[in-house]
Symmetry: C2
Subunit: 344 residues, 2 copies
DNA sequence: TTGTATGCGTTATCAG
DNA sequence: CTGATAACGCATACAA
């Protein structure tokens, strides 16, 4: 059908005057090969510019040499960072990275229906994708270690931040500045999926305020779809309240950016009239002088990848993989968007 | 070694009481299978929750079912967008996406040395990675179509914008506003690679000004590594000139962001004292009210992917693949950072 | 329409 | 240390 334009191991063997088995051994760096034979083989391979067929190799060994990376929105800042972090670790360990971007409903459904990962990867890394238990059960494969970054998922080791502590720290900062009426910009399920992180941060917001003895007015929490512009809209909603907050906690920096824009447009002074704090420490947060809770994003991707790589190395194959959840620390980065509550 | 926890086609065949060949035919949707047989097979596959081993399948067919996506900086905005655009197209066509992030020197070198794409992908998409001719020759594989987005590369179909026209349009906007002394923030080779786009935009800047009969003072072009902060530094340098420009063209929006920050810090009014224009229309550009040349980034990724998919479908296998370069249009988006040149 | 048999390119087992 | 040879799991030409 297609001409065998590839040189095969057999070609190399013939060229070197040895058996195919010897070629295989040599190329895999096994020690039980005579030095001069090894040289001949390597030379032959070089001459023919031969490379092993990873596919054939995998069929024979039973491993795929690849890992699956599943993300909801590959083009967003957070996910890009995680992907980059994970990629470098996988790459270092000779693993190929299969990227699955499940942002839109169709892609996600196809993924769940056809389960393209089956028999195709040695490990799977899920980034902040909320899967229902049933879905997850379908995705899991015996002997294929799986890890998740960004959120907890039943039975799967996670690498994430402490959402509650992070939110609490952010709010503590505002409270210490004298703020008593604090609004929150949150995200809600978009058409495709419900994001647990949003829920957690919202919940933490409420419980923290309650613990601090502050009122938790329901209208102080406004939920919008993700996006800078929606951060603006949410802020407008907060400003439209009869009794607006004096400070805003944004679920993520991108939403906070929108908040800053809205405030500026309303002619309000930040932080004079309104303080704003975000979560992430986005690349642009320093530029916008945004106070935020920094989380190490790239590192979380790398860390999760490392856990999987280790699992692959130790539990040769089909052992039950298990690892503890790793909590990475977040840091309060105080910049210019938070200040004392305005005297009223 | 590892227990064959997988059900194989043979298992399904036995379960359905047919031959393995029939199972194969059925599962691939071939028509020459009796209806009731087909049902039995599908039922058996369902019962055993069987999925074909893509690896075995590929060994048999000779195709890999995967494409390689090579990018220099996966975590940057531009590349994230391109990846997302390409991913969706590849995914729709049942192709797996192997991501290679070659940002750091070591990764790039490893990539060039070991050529992990060989025999592993059906097509390759390179995103704005400058490869020398020799490198490229090493990467190309007969019968494996290749495309590039973001820049021209000898002999490879590209999807990109018209750099010269884009820069010219941006400058025209400034000139029309009365600016006569226009600075440029450019990037230079970072430790790893030389980015041709930077060179092109710089060249276009010079020739456009020259054509317009404006002076092209060398010190008006300041080159820095990529990054927002470096955009700030570059701007400081421009401001420090004995005769600063009245407008700045930034090679990309991210650099422009830095410029805006620097100007603000210097207490300069934008666009009263200084106009700024970027290239990209980054997600945050609207927020920062940055005038810019918009380029369709996601679309370029999708377009290039589509070209490759088409090539795979038509030129069954090892034909010589060729396609024309596609130029996508850019648009001037006038926002608030450009205005009339200050009277002097 | 269905079954048989061979090949895909390696790895790995066993003799030698 | 080296060479046959049997898997690996599926696709497919060839027969039936």
């Amino acid at each position: 059908m297609n001409q065998p334009s590839h040189v095969s191991m057999e070609d190399v063997a013939r060229h070197a005057g040895v058996s195919i088995a010897t070629v295989s051994r040599t190329l895999r760096g096994m020690t039980n090969v005579a030095d001069h034979t090894r040289r001949r083989v390597l030379q032959a391979a070089e001459d023919l510019s031969y490379v092993v067929s990873p596919i054939a190799s995998r069929l024979a060994t039973g491993t795929t040499g690849a890992v699956g990376l599943v993300v909801p929105y590959a083009s967003r800042w957070y996910f890009g960072q995680v992907v980059a972090g994970a990629e470098s670790v996988f790459r270092e360990n000779g693993l190929d990275l299969l990227l699955y971007n499940l942002g839109d409903r169709a892609a996600r459904q196809r993924f769940l229906d056809r389960r393209p990962l089956r028999r195709r990867v040695d490990a799977t890394l899920v980034v902040a994708m909320p899967f229902a238990d049933a879905e997850l059960a379908a995705l899991r494969q015996p002997g294929i270690p799986m890890a998740v970054v960004g959120l907890d998922t039943a039975g799967i080791p996670a690498v994430r931040i402490d959402e509650a502590a992070t939110v609490a720290c952010a709010l503590r900062h505002l409270i210490d500045l004298g703020h008593r009426r604090i609004g929150m910009i949150s995200t809600y399920a978009d058409q495709n999926m419900w994001l647990p992180v949003a829920h957690q941060r919202r919940t933490s917001y409420l419980s923290t305020l309650r613990t601090a003895g502050l009122a938790t007015d329901p209208e102080l929490v406004v939920s919008v779809p993700f996006g800078i512009h929606n951060g603006e809209l949410a802020t407008q909603a907060l400003l439209a309240l009869e009794q607006p907050p004096t400070a805003i906690l944004a679920e993520s920096d991108e939403l906070a950016f929108g908040a800053l824009a809205a405030l500026r447009r309303h002619g309000l002074d930040v932080p004079g009239d309104m303080s704003v704090i975000g979560i992430d420490d986005h690349d642009l947060s320093q530029l916008l002088d945004l106070t935020t809770m920094r989380q190490p994003v790239t590192e979380q991707g790398a860390l999760a990848a490392r856990i999987l790589v280790e699992a692959l190395q130790t539990t040769e194959g089909a052992q039950a993989f298990t690892a503890p959840t790793t909590i990475v620390p977040t840091t309060l980065i105080i910049r210019g968007t938070t200040g004392p509550a305005p005297a009223r």
